[in-house]
Structures are given as structure tokens and as C-alpha cells.
Symmetry: C2
DNA sequence: ATGTTAGTTAGCCGCATGGCTAAACATGAA
DNA sequence: TTCATGTTTAGCCATGCGGCTAACTAACAT
């Protein structure tokens, strides 16, 4: 399925990992350098680096280097497409419920005749 | 990172694939048998089956067999944890903004002395 | 009973992912 | 300059993923 929203796939994939989610949650409280992010994970730095680049590729975080320390910060708008997708999904589903209501109504009218 | 929410990982991972998302969108309009779901994807049945089991494992769809045809239906509540996580995330972020406001206020008070 | 249709299972293939170590940079401190 | 610190790069390994074919089962239709 060649799809038009690679963003969504990147986003969902980035969010699918507990380590990455915990990094995000940590970052939601404020920017932090790489090593500080690595500490609570118990993982080695290169591993954490890769998680960070996945997050950055998905647009969920932004990083900048000051001296020799790289600071990471969350990009809160990045979650918008996810939210939008969820809303669309719910809308379609509710549309379906509405149509089901109509259908039931029609049935009841039929029966009332 | 041993995490306490395997659901979230399963959910996000299930949603990370365009084929699976399109199947979900299709199902949001009403239940459908496997072959009907497979048709628009251009993929072989076993492949689609695997996608379906990923979706089912994540609790996003439910299936039932009637005769020799298996009908798949969406489970709309399944997206709730995702929505909840997004909301929590946003809350933390906004909390951070609030604290930043406080901080700025404090700074201004200091300066006013 | 025989064929057709709808799923299912088994197993192969290539690539991506998530972990690691070891070695290389780059910068700030002594 | 030399050393310590904070990444960064390269490369290895096992596992998992997404695609396939081929072969098997389970209903329904003739």
C-alpha cells in the first residue's frame, strides 16, 4: 500500500517503543541533554542515540548542540497529525452509528404501520 | 525498558502500518469479510491475514466466523488508551507551560522590586 | 462425489530494529 | 599539550516484520 501519509507511519512507529515514549514523557517536562536522557533507561548511549534519531526523524523532538552537549526538546505540535487521525477515525465511526440509528428508526416506522 | 503498558506498544505498532490503517478505515464503515478487506490492498491473503491478526492482537478489531467466511469488525473503544496517552502528554506539556508562566511572573516580580 | 470458494498453516526471503562494543571526534579544563 | 567528558560513527548479532508461494482444511454448490 503506497500511502500518502508517511508522517503517520513514522509517528506511530516512533511511539510504539516504551523507551521512546518514556523519553518523550521526560522531555515533556523540559529539554535535556542526551546523557541525562540515557541514564534512567539503563541503555547504552549509542542505543539511546538511535532512539533519539527515530524520534527526531518523526519530528517529535528537535535537538541542538551547544558546545559538546546536545540538548533535546519536545516538539509538541508534532502529535497533531496523530490526534487528527484519531478524530477522523472517530468521526467515521460515529457517522456509522448515526446511519445505524437511521436504520433502526426506519425499521421502527415500518413496524408501526 | 520493561514497561507496564504493553497495550500502548501493541496499539501504536499496529497503527504504524498504512495497510493496517486503511483496513481500519474501511472497517470503520462497517464489518467485512477477509477477502473483501484484502481486495483493495493488492496483497495476498496470507499477508492480509497477518495484518488482521496484528490488529486483533492489539484489540483494534474483533473477528468471528460464520460458515467459512470470517467477518471482521472494528472495536472502537480500542483507541481509547491512545487518546488517553495523547491527552496525558498534552497535559504534562501544558503543565510545563504553566510553570514557565509562573517562572516568568516570578522574574517580573523580582524585577519590580 | 467433485469441484469451488474462503481461510488457514508452514515456511522461505530480504530488510529493519534494537541491543551491544570498540574506536573515533570534539570541546572544555588543567 | 594532555586528559576527561560527551557524544558520534562503525559494525556485529539476534530477532522481528512484511511480503511471497505452496499446500492443506472447511464449507457450500452441483
Amino acid at each position: 500500500m503506497a500511502k500518502h501519509e508517511p508522517d503517520l507511519s513514522l509517528l506511530f512507529h516512533a511511539l510504539a517503543d516504551p523507551t521512546r515514549r518514556s523519553i518523550l514523557t521526560r522531555l515533556a517536562r523540559g529539554p535535556a541533554p542526551v546523557t541525562e536522557l540515557a541514564n534512567p533507561t539503563g541503555l547504552r548511549l549509542p542505543t539511546v542515540m538511535r532512539h533519539l534519531s527515530v524520534l527526531e526523524a518523526a519530528g517529535l523532538i528537535a535537538t541542538s548542540k551547544d558546545g559538546r552537549v546536545r540538548s533535546c526538546a519536545i516538539v509538541p505540535e508534532a502529535l497533531a497529525p496523530v490526534r487528527t487521525w484519531l478524530d477522523e477515525q472517530r468521526e467515521i465511526w460515529e457517522g456509522r452509528l448515526d446511519r445505524m440509528d437511521e436504520y433502526v428508526m426506519k425499521l421502527m416506522e415500518e413496524r408501526a404501520k
